[in-house]
Symmetry: C2
Subunit: 175 residues, 2 copies
């Protein structure tokens, strides 16, 4: 799948079939997540892969109503910020670096026919705390986002675009 076509045809998929995601596809997705740029190449992230249905349900309940699609996903990947690796002069770049990793994984999955939906966690403290408790994360590991992955149900294959180019969002040369 061509990159530009892939970026524009991606949709947030919230209903998944029971088909599992194989290890080769998972590996390609994770490799994409680790192939983005990061500030001073700090790579301040880790990834928590969950397939266990009971844990996916608990993650979903801890992340609020928008996270319910995770309950039917083939797997979830939590992007976790690693505070031991952040750029010391501006640690909060970890938020940007984690988002780059997430979008790379979503696009790689899409190119393999795997749908996904991005479930925001950071900066909502109650969601961060819930995930931290569930997985007994150390202080240095900050939940960033949860991505739910799975093969899309037929109803999810022709979702309308919710965005695209808007001329009034672009300024040329001056504000």
């Amino acid at each position: 799948m061509n990159i530009i076509d892939g970026i524009s045809s991606r949709r947030s998929v919230r209903q998944f079939t029971a088909q599992p995601i194989g290890d080769d596809a998972l590996s390609a997705i994770l490799t994409a997540g680790m192939s983005g740029p990061s500030a001073v190449n700090a790579r301040p992230w880790s990834f928590l892969v969950v397939r266990d249905r009971d844990m996916l349900c608990k993650m979903a309940d801890g992340n609020g109503s928008a996270a319910q699609p995770l309950k039917g996903a083939a797997l979830g990947i939590m992007v976790v910020g690693d505070m031991t690796r952040t750029f010391e002069r501006a640690p909060d770049y970890w938020v940007i670096d984690g988002a780059i990793a997430g979008q790379n994984m979503i696009l790689a999955a899409h190119s393999l026919g795997i749908g996904s939906v991005w479930l925001g966690t950071w900066p909502q403290e109650e969601k961060i705390s819930a995930q931290r408790r569930l997985f007994h994360l150390p202080e240095s590991a900050v939940p960033h986002s949860i991505l739910a992955f799975g093969y899309p149900e037929d109803s999810q294959k022709e979702l309308p675009a919710r965005g695209g180019y808007e001329a009034d969002r672009v300024h040329f040369e001056t504000w």
Copy 2:
């Protein structure tokens, strides 16, 4: 270019030829930037496109030493957070949404043979203030990142990978 190949072959390009970037390519890049997911589909961003050499030099100087490649870029795009559009329950999702937009633009450019380097601005207050002053941005417009784009010099076409898969960054089921 295949998505997975594109993600893994992308490098941060810091030296550019004098070849300009045409309007069709720019439009494709901006469309990609506006095609990512955003929290509650708020799309809390705008894009400032700069081709003027004098302004590119001033942007670079305001963004610190790592931003010097912008001086030789065909154009720069500043991702700007739009605080009038953020998700009211968690406004800071704008940081993640801006990063998703940036990575989409970098990948779209790469697929067109256009190199780029990501120049971090947020969360470094002195960089944010410098860009804000330069473009007389309103309070609601927060500089997020500057992306320098241009056709890569030959020396930039075979840069080594600085990352890829690291098994110790992945946790399965438990931390």
